[in-house]
Symmetry: C2
Subunit: 358 residues, 2 copies
């Protein structure tokens, strides 16, 4: 039987409880498909700050590096919000992305027919939405230098961050995006602000320069303000979107919210080699943590993405995705996606329903 | 009678035809209210590039400076998109904002009951939306140095832009925002990315430091990704939003698109002193230019904003706004806002209907 080392990063808030469900599902699918998973848990985010004084202990990064894939739940909570930046949960996540070289973030936003009513948009506008946002994740303004709050000689303060991309960084994410689009409907929309920013001009030029290598893919460009607007106006015009770190942060959240069920959406972060990181799009929801109310389905679908993109086990991934559809078809819903004629269940009961469906 | 010098910048695409309607409306209201307007037209954008070789001729900026208010229609078009940056229409607009010191951009997004159906969002989600986005307009990454595409010694290219704000710049726009919120429902939401960016941390710190001066205003903070999401999920939670140049570009367009009728939305850009700039949120729509199809109502409402915010003539502004509501009540619609049971009219006919309503 094939064997995989998986690092589990349950993190904060609802993280541990949804992680438990995903692990149970992985174990079950592993038995069925003769895949052996060896799980190692490690602290990150607020939990790591409390335990070790830092949001990303070196030992956690090492454990991740030595594994075949990393499954993360969620980080953050009010009690860590006012710590200095280097001690904040988010800083741990950014360090993990950089430390594992995870430059390509894939964020699918799809509307399941079972949950179509959950969107704040009209059903006819969102029916059939199936968008993949390819976000650059280790460059741009998130990591650019110089950065900081600087005091001038006259005592005045100035905040500075640098949005910077090298041609090589753009090419690298650009190729992932073209390849992603090629496997989908072959439409790739690159989003930038090239009418104002030079860094975007370089981005656009490089994307255009890559295009001849992917003759089947239809490449278009939109300015970020227009792209945000178009996502709201008519999301079905999009298939694959590629953009930088900051614009991707915003646009992938808009795309996610179009579905109305952000508790359902997984994501994958991949590097050139080494383990990928798989995590739900939603946050740590500290207000409902520990109450068995959380929706574990995005976490479970993140485990499926891990099987598909990180461990090359598409059949096992497919099984999990089918199980999710089945529990929805059977009417089970956590509070966040409750609808008329459906049955409210808690996090654990949803997990049990998944095991039953498998 | 009171007399005002107005600079008209018709610009490109549908600009001239919608400007004609706004001028006719201003003249009519001027007669009624005993306000004398002296209009001077000047070239900007693509039209200025074609006529003078530059998107913002010095004479245009001078004319604007010497006037009491500037009414702009729209700039840009495909034929100027591939010119070098300093020769692009957008560069003229940015130069105008900087040249007039227009640091405060006010972008209202309201849903008129007459046009509620136009939104891509469910009617119950957008009913009553009334948001004012206060966007910083002369700082941030739009103007920060260093900027450019730089070649390293090994020949590799790197694009760089700098997102930078001084404490004074934040305070200045922050005060406008608090004052705006105070005149509205007293809820102010500041949007930043303080969990990642130092420039946002300074932004947030300064906003918090201003808050005690406005004890009636309830100040909250959101990260930009979450704000974009919340605008889509439940826009009525927002009243006044304040944010930087780039985030404001994106969020104000989302807010505008929530209404589904971007052809209806005006904006104002104000400085510490000197003339303000008033313009529709929509673009120059080159594909329908010169065909008498354009919706002139955002331009007309921009003229109303000019009267209210730029010339301190709230009664005249109110008259224009009432006339717009009246023509909508009478069922007149341009193609972009056509609905069942309404009557299609062209740009000129809509102008005539406004004159009749006045
Ligand atoms: C928590 C935060 C640092 C992070 C980001 O901005 O990348 C989050 O918003 C995300 O999108 O994963
Ligand atoms: C045309 C462009 C430079 C401009 C901007 O980005 O500010 C526009 O999008 C706007 O919002 O007024």
């Amino acid at each position: 039987s094939t064997s995989f080392h998986i690092t589990l990063l349950p993190g904060d808030g609802i993280g541990p409880e949804i992680m438990d469900v995903a692990v149970a599902v992985l174990k079950r699918v592993g038995q069925q498909m003769k895949l052996a998973f060896e799980f190692t848990s490690a602290p990150i985010g607020g939990a790591a700050i409390d335990a070790t004084g830092t949001p990303l202990p070196e030992s956690t990064l090492e454990t991740c590096r030595r594994s075949d894939a990393v499954l993360l739940a969620a980080i953050g909570g009010y009690q860590w919000d006012n710590l200095p930046r280097h001690l904040r949960p988010e800083t741990g996540l950014l360090g993990l992305r950089a430390g594992l070289g995870l430059f390509a973030n894939l964020r699918p936003a799809t509307i399941l027919p079972q949950l179509a009513g959950a969107s704040s948009l009209k059903p006819e506008i969102v029916a059939g939405v199936d968008i993949m946002v390819v976000r650059e994740l280790t460059g741009g303004i998130y990591f650019g230098q110089p950065r900081g709050i600087f005091e001038a000689e006259d005592g005045t303060l100035r905040g500075v961050n640098s949005m910077t991309y090298s041609a090589a960084e753009v090419d690298r994410i650009g190729r992932v995006a073209f390849e992603t689009a090629q496997k989908r409907s072959k439409r790739l929309c690159s989003v930038d602000k090239a009418n104002v920013l030079e860094v975007s001009q370089l981005w656009r030029d490089r994307l255009n320069a890559l295009a001849p290598d992917y003759p089947e893919v239809d490449l278009t460009h939109l300015y970020v303000d227009n792209a945000a607007m178009q996502l709201v106006r008519c999301p079905t015009q999009f298939d694959t979107i590629v953009t930088g770190n900051l614009f991707g942060d915003i646009l992938s959240d808009i795309a996610a919210m179009l579905t109305g069920s952000i508790g359902m959406l997984p994501s994958a972060s991949l590097g050139a080699s080494g383990p990928g990181l798989f995590e739900p799009v939603h946050g740590s929801a500290p207000d409902i943590a520990g109450q068995d109310k959380a929706n574990p389905l995005a976490q479970v679908l993140s485990a499926a993405m891990m099987l598909r993109y990180g461990l090359n086990q598409p059949e096992a991934a497919h099984r999990i995705e089918q199980a999710v559809l089945q529990v929805l078809d059977r009417g089970y819903r956590t509070g966040d996606i409750l609808g008329e004629g459906t049955q409210a269940v808690g996090c654990q009961a949803m997990g049990q329903a998944l095991i039953d469906a498998l």
